[in-house]
Amino acid sequence: MARPSLGWRRPLALGTLTALGIVATLGPAGSVAQSPGTPTPGGTITMAVEGEPTSVDPAFDYDFVSGYATSSITEALLVFCENDTQLCPNLASDWNVSDDGLTYTFTIRDGVNFHDGTPMTVEDIVFSLDRIRNPELGSYVGWMLANVADVTAPDDHTVVVTMSQPDALVQYAFASTAAHVVKQAFVEEHGDQYGTPGVGSIGTGPFKFQEWVSGDHQTLVRNDDYWNKANGGPYLDSVIIKILPEPTTRVAGLETGELDFVLNNLPSDQYATVQGFPHVNLSFIPSYYGEWITYNTAVAPFDNVKLRQALAYAVDKAGLRQLYYGPDSPATKGTIVYPTLWSFEQDQWQAAWDALPAYDQDLDKARQLLEESGVADQLNGKTIAYYESTPSIKGIGEHFIDVMGQLGVTIEAQKITYQEAIALQFGAHDDYDIIVGAWGSDFPDPSGNLRPNFASENIAAGGANASAYTNPEVDTRLAEQNTLTDNAERSRLMIEAQALIAEDAPLISITNPGWPLATNERVQGAQVGPLWYWGSLFKDVWVTQ
C-alpha cells in the first residue's frame, strides 16, 4: 500500500529555503509539465485531502474533498473541456438545445457498463436526474436543476430534459455532480446508506470504489472495463486518498515521497518549502476563484460609497499578492470577473477590463476620500472577521488592521473558524462589520461570480451576497442575462453591471490565485483545470517506475 517511507531525505538548514525565493514551474496552463516517456499501466499514487469526505454519493459532493473519489467513480452526461472553458460529450455522445432554450435533448452513449458489469440504461439516467431534483433527498447540488420541469426517455438512447424557464447556466449543471449517473438498483438497494464508507458507490467511471476507512483513507482501483480509453487511460492500479487535516504533515509527506499528489490544500506559506524539494513539481492551475474583503454595505458607515472607495485604495493588494500567493498571482482591478472567466466574447470583456478602476494602493487618496466621506470617525472600533487556517485570509485580515492603523483608524480583529466564516458569509449577512471572504464560480461563466455575490436576491440566508449589496440597476441586468442564450447580449448586460459594481466598490478584490498543485516527479499526465472539483483527475495519470 503506502510506499516505504525511507525515501529520499536531506537535512534541512533553518531558514535557508526562504532565501531561495519562489521559482515556480508554470507548465502549460492547466496541465502538469510532461516528461518524455510512454505511459505504462500499473502503479499507485497517494494523494492528500484536508478533511473527511462527505460522501461518495454525487448528490452530496459539493465541496473540495469529496470529489476526488466521487468524480472518479461516477460520471456526468457532459464534461468540461478545453481547459474547462467549454462543454464536451461524455456519457451523452451528443446533445442539442432548442432555440427557445426550453428543451435539452441528449443522445446516450451505447456500450457503457457500470462497475458491476451491467449496462447503463436511460432509465438509470432519468432516475439519477430525478433523484437530484427531488427535494426529499436534500441534495447539495439540487439547486442547479431548479428550473428543470421534466426528464423523460423517449427511447433507449435518448434523454430529454424540459425546462420551466430558460436558464443560461443549466447547461453547465449537466457536467457537474448534479448530472452524475448512478445505478438505480444499487441506490435503491442501499437507501440512506448509499455513499457511506460501508456501502460506497458504483458508477461508470475510470476507477472503482474499493474501501473507505473513516478518518484515514479512501482507496480506488482501476476499472479495466472503462468505456473511454481514447487517451489510453486509466493506467493506475489504484489511487489512495489520505485524510490529512494538518498542512505540515502534507508537506512532510511530499518531502518523504509518501505523498504523490497534493492539490488546492497546500497553504501558500508552504510554497517556498515545497519548491525546495527537487523531486516535487509545484505548478499553479488558473482558477475562477478569488479572495477579497467586504463589509456590510447596508449599514453605516459602509453604506457610504466614498468610504468604501477609501478602504479599497488603502489596501496594499500588490504586497499581499506577493507575500501570500503563488508567483504572478494576477491583479484583479475592481471586479471579481477574472480574465480566466471570459469563456466567450473575450474582446468585449477585455475592453471592459481596460476601463475598470484598478484601486491600486494610494494612501493619500484613501485619506482624502475618508475625509470627504464625512463618516470616517464611525469606522473606529469596527471589527474585521477572518479565519486563520488559510494563510492568505489571515494575512489579509492582519494587513487590513495594520494599514487602517496607518490611517489613524482602529479596527479590531474578530478571529473565527473557517466554518464560522462560512456561516457568516452565507448567513443573513447582518452580523459582521468587515469580513475577509472568498468565492469561486462553479461554472466557466462570468455570471457564476457576479450573480451570487451581487444580486440582492442573494442577501437572504443561504445566498453569497456577503456585501449585502443592493443596486436595482445591477439586479435587473443580472436577472435578464440569465434568461438569455445569446452570449454577446449576456456579456453586454453583465459588463454594464460589472462597471456599476466596480464604481460602488462593495468589496476589495485582492487576487485571483491559481490552485497550487504539487506532484511527485513520477506522476505524469494529470489534466487539472480551473474546475478540477468537477473532474475525474486520475483518468489518464500514469507513473514512471
Binding site: A2, D57, W143, P197, T249, A423
Partner: protein, 312 residues
C-alpha cells in the same frame, strides 16, 4: 464489592445527564448555523436550508429537541452526523481504534521508561543520576504535547528521517512505527509522573524493615531491589497510571489535532467546529462515561491492593 460498583454506576447517571444537558445547551448557544456549515460555503438553495433543518431535527424548541435526543440516546441511537452523513455510532467505532492504540502505547511507554528510571533514581538517591532524572521529569511534565509533537516531527521525520511524519501505516509493524511519535509526545508527562512516583515509593519500601531483613540474610542486591522492593512499590504506581489514562484520552485531542491523526479526538474537535451536534453529544457522553468508569476501576483497584479498604 459488586453492590458497591453497581451503586457507583447508578450514581453516575445524574452526572451523565448533567453533562449531556450542559453539552447540549452550550453547543446550541454557539453561533454558527450547522445547516450553513454543512453546505460548506458554496451556493445554497433557501428551500434546502429549511429541508435540512427539519431533517436534522432542529425545528421546534430546544428542550423538546433535547428530550427527543435523550430518548434515542438511551437506546444507544445517537443519530446521523450532519456533515459526514454517517451513523454516529459507526463513526465513533471507526475512530476508536486509533485513539485506543495511541493511549495503550503511551501507557506502555510510561511503564517501560518511567518505572526503571524511578527505580534507578531511588537506588542512586541524591546522586547526579537522581537529580538528572528529577530534572527530566520536571521538563516532561511541563511539556505541551502540541509542542513536543511538532518538535518530534521536525527532528525525527524531517531532519533525521527515521520515523514517518504522519498517517497510520499499512501492516501492524508499520502502524507501530507511525504511532511512535504521537505516543511519545503524549506519554512524556506520564513518564515523568510514573518515574517520580516509582522513585518515592521505592525509597519508602527500601527503608522498610523487611528489606533490612532481606539485606541481613545476604540476598543479592538485584533480588532485593526487584523481587522485594519493586513488587511492593509497584502497587501505588499502577494506581497512578490508571488514574492518568482518562487524561491521556483527552490529551489525544491535541496530539491528533497537531499530527493530523484520524482518531476520536480529531472527530470531536472537527465536530465542534462543524457544529455537528450528534457527534459532539455522543462523544462527550462517551468520554464522560469512560472517566466515571476509570474512576471506579481505580477505586476498586485500591481495594484489591489494600484489603483494609472497605467499600460501604
Amino acid at each position: 464489592m459488586a453492590a458497591y460498583a453497581a451503586r457507583r454506576l447508578l450514581a453516575a447517571i445524574p452526572i451523565l445527564l448533567v453533562v449531556s444537558f450542559v453539552t447540549f445547551g452550550l453547543i446550541r448557544l454557539a453561533p454558527g448555523d450547522p445547516v450553513l456549515i454543512v453546505l460548506g460555503g458554496r451556493r445554497v438553495d433557501p428551500e434546502l436550508i429549511v429541508q435540512l433543518r427539519t431533517r436534522f431535527g432542529l425545528d421546534g424548541d430546544p428542550i423538546t429537541q433535547y428530550f427527543a435526543w435523550l430518548g434515542r440516546a438511551v437506546q444507544l441511537d445517537f443519530g446521523t452526523s450532519y456533515k459526514l452523513r454517517q451513523e454516529v455510532g459507526d463513526l465513533i467505532l471507526a475512530r476508536l481504534p486509533t485513539t485506543v492504540e495511541l493511549v495503550a502505547l503511551s501507557v506502555l511507554l510510561a511503564i517501560a521508561i518511567g518505572i526503571p528510571l524511578g527505580v534507578l533514581q531511588a537506588r542512586r538517591r541524591e546522586t547526579a543520576v537522581d537529580y538528572a532524572g528529577s530534572f527530566i521529569a520536571f521538563v516532561g511534565v511541563s511539556s505541551p504535547v502540541y509542542f513536543t509533537a511538532i518538535l518530534g516531527v521536525l527532528v525525527f521525520a524531517v531532519w533525521l528521517g527515521i520515523l514517518p511524519a504522519f498517517g497510520s501505516g499499512s501492516d501492524p509493524l508499520d502502524q507501530l512505527r507511525h504511532l511512535i511519535l504521537p505516543a511519545v509526545a503524549l506519554a512524556l508527562g506520564m513518564i515523568a509522573l510514573t518515574s517520580r512516583m516509582t522513585r518515592s515509593a521505592m525509597i519508602e519500601v527500601l527503608a522498610s524493615d523487611y528489606i533490612e531483613a532481606a539485606r541481613a540474610k545476604g540476598l543479592p542486591e538485584r533480588t532485593i531491589l526487584i523481587k522485594h522492593g519493586l513488587r511492593n512499590a509497584l502497587i501505588p504506581v499502577l494506581t497512578v497510571i490508571s488514574l492518568q489514562v482518562g487524561f491521556l484520552v483527552v490529551g489525544t485531542v491535541l496530539v491528533e489535532h497537531t499530527l493530523g491523526l484520524g482518531g476520536l479526538g480529531s472527530l470531536i474537535t472537527d465536530a465542534i467546529q462543524n457544529r455537528d451536534y450528534p457527534i459532539i453529544q455522543a462523544s462527550v457522553l462517551m468520554l464522560t462515561f469512560l472517566f466515571v468508569l476509570l474512576n471506579l476501576v481505580t477505586d476498586l483497584l485500591y481495594g484489591l491492593i489494600d484489603p483494609r479498604i472497605r467499600y460501604t
